[in-house]
């Protein structure tokens, strides 16, 4: 019972307070990939914590697991073991039902959205493969406006126009490295997950704000990856070249604002490069994302202990 309450509390804390502490990690001195791991881990953790809590709430003899945190013989379990109080049972079932219901809803939204996007992607790729030349696994389009983008998925592709091919080689390579980073990092999948969570559970702050944050972070992570390969200079030049050509009639023209910020970011980031091996950093980020959950469980344990001291017959 204590563990179940602790996990529920953890899910609520992560869901509500998550955006606040995760946004602290979005700054030029922290590798954007780390913040990305933090966001994704936090969302996964929230889901897992809520699901495990729901199982513990309804499973018979689940109180045995409270032994893991030394709370097996706590008073809340004694009440449970020696004859049920009806409302307690109802409350536990309701809590579990709410969690399972939410999980089912997320699954439905995920199925719908991914099916919709997969169909769009398939049609778009078929068109691209007919219209473009494929060279070094990149689909080249005969267009003078420099445009580059990537389509995710198992048969995804990077698309670039002749305008990109005509840029200086270092700029062109930086732009393509940026798109390769999206593909390698499975950024399209992360975006899909964020969009699903936001669409299914918009009342949870962590879910509602995930798409915006993750969209920003994948761009920054891809910029950083390109800068590690080719240096920040060519990435900056590539960004400027692509945006400079954007005619006012295209959506590209609106990106100046964001590009301005990305340019400043690239200028700042050189300080942050390579003070920590990437793998260690990612593991650290995942562990840090765990902290709020552990703290929540500890607090609930403490509260239960205090409660039990209070109800113990004198």
């Amino acid at each position: 019972m204590t563990l179940a309450l602790g996990l529920l509390m953890a899910a609520v804390v992560i869901g509500v307070a998550g955006p606040a502490y995760l946004c602290i990690a979005v700054k030029p001195s922290v590798r954007p990939g780390l913040a990305l791991v933090g966001w994704v881990t936090s969302m996964a953790l929230m889901v897992v914590a809520a699901l495990v809590a729901a199982v513990l709430l309804v499973a018979p003899h689940a109180y045995v697991l409270d032994g893991l945190i030394g709370m097996r013989h706590s008073c809340v379990n004694v009440i449970r073991a020696s004859g049920e109080v009806a409302w307690g049972h109802v409350a536990r079932s309701a809590g579990a039902a709410a969690v399972f219901g939410a999980a089912g809803w997320v699954a439905v939204v995920a199925a719908r959205l991914s099916w919709h996007r997969r169909r769009w992607r398939r049609e778009h790729l078929a068109l691209l493969r007919a219209v473009c030349r494929c060279e070094r696994s990149i689909l080249w389009m005969d267009e003078d406006t420099p445009v580059a983008y990537s389509v995710g998925g198992r048969r995804g592709a990077i698309v670039a126009t002749r305008g990109v091919a005509r840029l200086r080689p270092r700029e062109r390579d930086a732009i393509l490295a940026h798109e390769h980073a999206h593909m390698r990092g499975r950024h399209h999948l992360l975006l899909l997950v964020a969009d699903v969570m936001a669409k299914a559970l918009p009342f949870v702050p962590l879910c509602r704000r995930a798409p915006g944050a993750i969209r920003v972070l994948v761009e920054l992570a891809a910029d950083a990856a390109a800068a590690r390969l080719h240096g920040p200079g060519p990435v900056r030049a590539g960004l400027l070249a692509v945006v400079g050509h954007g005619t006012p009639s295209t959506a590209l023209a609106m990106s100046r604002d964001a590009v301005e910020a990305r340019l400043r970011w690239l200028a700042d980031e050189r300080v942050a490069l390579g003070w920590l091996p990437a793998r260690v950093g990612y593991a650290l980020a995942a562990v840090l994302a765990l902290t709020p959950a552990l703290v929540s469980i500890a607090i609930v344990t403490l509260v239960v202990l205090v409660y039990c001291l209070g109800v113990r017959p004198a």
Partner: protein, 120 residues
């Protein structure tokens, strides 16, 4: 632009690569598919493409001759225009190198940069 299926895209590729109008039999000969296709399959595909406005056809003797109704470059330009202008699906499925940002995203970036500025 109305979408194309995979086979339709391959047929369009054949028509774009050809310099002259092609009959169904000629399209069939130039198609490289893992499994050999039936004549009627290709005929149906070409008929669909005609219905969607992708190809023009003219009667030559007893059969039709097909040509792409616009060049590969024109089709590419139109496709790109669709990608850049659409605010719905493309915006969500694709990752542009320099994509427009929503106000929320710009806000996250700006605040992050300010945070650094405030400290040093």
């Amino acid at each position: 632009m109305r979408g194309l299926g995979e086979l339709e895209a391959k047929v369009m590729d054949v028509l774009w690569s050809a310099s002259e109008p092609l009959r169904v039999r000629e399209v069939l000969e130039r198609l490289h598919t893992p499994r050999p296709l039936a004549y009627t399959t290709v005929m149906t595909v070409l008929d669909n493409l005609h219905g969607k406005g992708w190809v023009r056809r003219e009667r030559a003797g007893r059969a039709y001759e097909y040509t792409a109704s616009e060049t590969r470059e024109e089709a590419g330009a139109k496709l790109l225009r669709d990608v850049l202008h659409s605010s719905g699906d493309a915006e969500q499925v694709l990752l542009h190198f320099a994509r427009s940002a929503t106000p929320e995203e710009s806000d996250i970036l700006r605040r992050a940069l300010d945070r650094r500025g405030g400290r040093g």
